[in-house]
């Protein structure tokens, strides 16, 4: 197959310039810096690398980051779906305000979210003092991390389901109903399967964001080694001790986890596009 023949004749100008600048800027800001960490880890003593990433404290931090991100993503699957449904289907006062506020977690700095939730759920906070009466404490525990991650991941689920739900043709539901399906059957057998790929995309995005999240979590988690120390904090701790090799090792494994999530996401999105065609 001849690569550079007629295909390369563009009508519009600026291909060389725009492509060149894009590749240059992408390399300078993203690719080269990311490559340093990968190349740096090749120069690292292999045994030291493995010892670092399999040490009990580091393993505990991976486990914590992954498990809290999963729980938060599942919670968001339910409440994100619910919110998207109400915002698209029902008309009620304040709907437009709620709709706009879905984006607040994108816009609010994570550190602010962190101190807010830490204060709200502290034993003297607005919600925390109610929970304290029932002897429940959510902060300084994995549940606190989950609270922060729910907030961070919520918009991803709502914003991926909303457009699909809004584009849904009413005929689909009408025909189901005219064939004698109940409202619940229509939802369960027709709507949910149709919305599922979008839901999965949103949940994966929320999960991927949750694994790497730092700012909102550290204020509410308590940051106790083995118990409430998330993986990104582990990197920070190693950096503070000037253990650059250790920090890179922990980071590299976390990067690999995130990139495999990205691959999964790509697969999910391709499936989503196919099923909506």
């Amino acid at each position: 197959m001849p690569p550079f023949t007629r295909k390369n004749r563009h009508i519009l100008p600026g291909f060389g310039l725009s492509m060149g600048y894009t590749v240059f800027y992408l390399s300078a800001i993203v690719i080269v810096p990311l490559a340093t960490i990968v190349i740096g880890s090749f120069n690292m003593d292999q045994q030291a690398f493995i010892a670092t990433v399999t040490s009990p404290r580091v393993l505990a931090s991976y486990r914590l980051s992954i498990s809290t991100a999963i729980v938060a993503a599942l919670f968001n699957a339910i409440f994100g779906f619910l919110s998207a449904w109400t915002l698209v289907r029902y008309r009620f006062p304040g709907r437009r305000v709620l709709d706009a506020m879905v984006d607040l977690p994108f816009a609010l700095p994570t550190a602010v979210a962190g101190i807010c939730f830490a204060t709200l759920y502290s034993p003297v906070g607005w919600i925390g003092q109610l929970l304290a009466k029932a002897d429940i404490q959510l902060i300084n525990a994995p549940s606190g991390i989950v609270i922060a991650l729910i907030f961070i991941g919520f918009p991803f689920v709502v914003r991926t389901i909303q457009p699909v739900l809004a584009e849904l043709e009413p005929e689909i539901e009408e025909s189901a109903q005219s064939l004698g399906a109940t409202r619940w059957q229509t939802f369960r057998r027709i709507l949910l399967p149709h919305l599922f790929p979008a839901l999965l995309t949103g949940v994966t995005l929320s999960f991927a964001r949750g694994i790497g999240e730092y700012g909102s979590v550290i204020f509410i988690a308590g940051n106790l080694p083995f118990k409430t120390e998330i993986a990104p904090l582990m990197i920070m701790t190693k950096l503070d001790q000037f253990d650059y090799d250790g920090a890179s090792a922990v980071a590299l494994v976390l990067l690999l986890i995130s990139f495999s999530m990205l691959l999964v996401l790509n697969g999910v999105q391709r499936w989503q596009q196919k099923s909506y065609r």
Binding site: H10, G14, Y21, L26, L82, L98, D103, Y214, I235, L255
Partner: protein, 290 residues
Amino acid sequence: MQHSITRKTGRGTRQSRNDHPAVQALLIVLTILFFAAFIFMPLALVFAEGFRKGVGLYLESIREPFALAAVKLTLITAAIVVPLNAVFGVTAAWAVSKFSFRGKTLLVSLLDLPFAVSPVIAGLIFVLLAGSRTAFGSWLADHGIRIIFSTPGIVIATLFVTFPFVARELIPLMESQGREEEEAAITLGARGWQVFSVITLPNIRWGVMYGMILCMARSIGEFGAVSVVSGHIRGMTNTIPLHVEILYSEYNYAASFAVASILVFLALVTVALKAIVEQRVHIHQRNNPS
């Protein structure tokens, strides 16, 4: 516009789509409760805590020199980062949407890469890159250039985390608009720059705005990445979110929330602007069906 409104309400009143009123009420109440607990309470709390020790202390907290220095550094960072990433976003979207070439899918996925990287790692890579162990790092040291624990480091880390915003907003928009208009202009003898400024730019201006708003919000609020590279030197390398953290960790809650309220205010402005621009983008797309 008119068309869409009637269609919307028409859809809403279709018999088949009407859930039982009790179901509707229940779901609406649940949604509102969720929003109350996760969105509105945190917002209310910031102002309640910020003003807890009186308006005097609130104003003092946001007017003291360290707070002002943090605001200044944050604004400088955003003023550098947003235009750079906007120019890149437009360029990348032009290359991707107006031409076909091999490896386009790969390029588009690479553009999204920073979103998959934990902010802490985003900071770490620049600490490593500018550290004494790389050739680049030693070159910087020989020439007496400081990146880490100074403003350039904060700017670069912020560039990285906000890198995809404008590009990923524009690529689908420009792809849906196609290239017929531009090609017609070229055929009629327009020059490259004319085509871009007269045809393309007006078509994408709201999309650019939208991406820049997101980029700006993130660059003002970025915490993890900036926290790694900044060194937390008060009055020197402290951005607003880092200043909030320091005050909080010193148990100076009232001041911390007072400064945080600036960020909340900016976030609310962002959300409002986003909603307005979003509407604009939709109207624009409807008036120019591709």
